[in-house]
Symmetry: C2
Subunit: 174 residues, 2 copies
Amino acid sequence: MLLTPAMQDFILHWGEMGAKWGVNRSVAQIHALLHIAPDPLDAEEICDTLGLARSNVSTGLKELQGWKLVKSSRALGDRRDVFISVQDMFDLSRVVIEGRREREFVPTIAALREVAKAAEGDATPDHVKARMQETLQTMQMFDDWYRDVSGLPRGVQLLAMKLGAKIARFLPKG
Amino acid sequence: MLLTPAMQDFILHWGEMGAKWGVNRSVAQIHALLHIAPDPLDAEEICDTLGLARSNVSTGLKELQGWKLVKSSRALGDRRDVFISVQDMFDLSRVVIEGRREREFVPTIAALREVAKAAEGDATPDHVKARMQETLQTMQMFDDWYRDVSGLPRGVQLLAMKLGAKIARFLPKG
DNA sequence: CCATTATTTCAGGGAATACAGAAATGCCCA
DNA sequence: TGGGCATTTCTGTATTCCCTGAAATAATGG
């Protein structure tokens, strides 16, 4: 696939952003490429276009599939896989957030809950226990909110965002 | 400062979480320690407690101050700085989100805007231009929403979260 | 069941990052 | 102005992570 300068830049920036958010650069670049590609690409094309090793692309694609950002399919009568990305930005954010929540946020909450419980049984000072509790509760509150809201249909979410923003403009600034 | 096992665990987990979120382990540990410490600590105490090199602590504290997660002050008649962290979890999340937005999200949007503009002037295919535009618009929508909502007083934000969650439970699941 | 092609796994080199200890700088007070 | 104390910068080393190329595995068609 031939890239215009603007397309190259897009992929480059996407890679940078990914790197900052804890996804490695090549993975983010592969995703960017699939994100703007109109048709499914096979692994070989991705290698050529991005100048990455075949194995690297394979690993990257697998990771992206794990995040449910990319789907593979196989054209009839062909033996190689072709890949497409989730094309919609809204879905994309959902998937990314959900992934981080499951892999990082939830385990952290669980671990902190254990720690807070353990603190009850040792010499941990009261103010520290209190602070651990507060930390836990606030994280839990965010998580509860997310779980409730994430279940809504996208249309409702969009509406709520727009409505929320509109209302916000009438309320006193913090 | 003496750490009970539970306190050690707390700091350890905080460090892990930080690492996953792109903050290095020592920095996150320093923050964790300050987060549970009832009184301001000086750099020396932090070293001793966490077993880190003095220079490392210095760098870490500077980074935390850059993120506005830690403030330094100097006790009257003393010549060394003491440090405290933002103690409130809600504030903490606000600061973290705000920091990431400013440092990563906003620049990315700006960069993508440039790219999308450049795409108008080169051979970039139409569907690619369209996808770039869509990407940009969705990110912009999130950012607009955030800016509106973040300006609200905390009480209103909390209320809105709780209300949103409550309403969400009555609406059809997505 | 073999030949061919696609994919995955693995080991090693290399770049980026984190950290410790030493040196340098800055600051305050006598 | 100089000495002592606190902080920061610097430099080398260790560690971690990334990516490649080769080897192994899997899949398909003859």
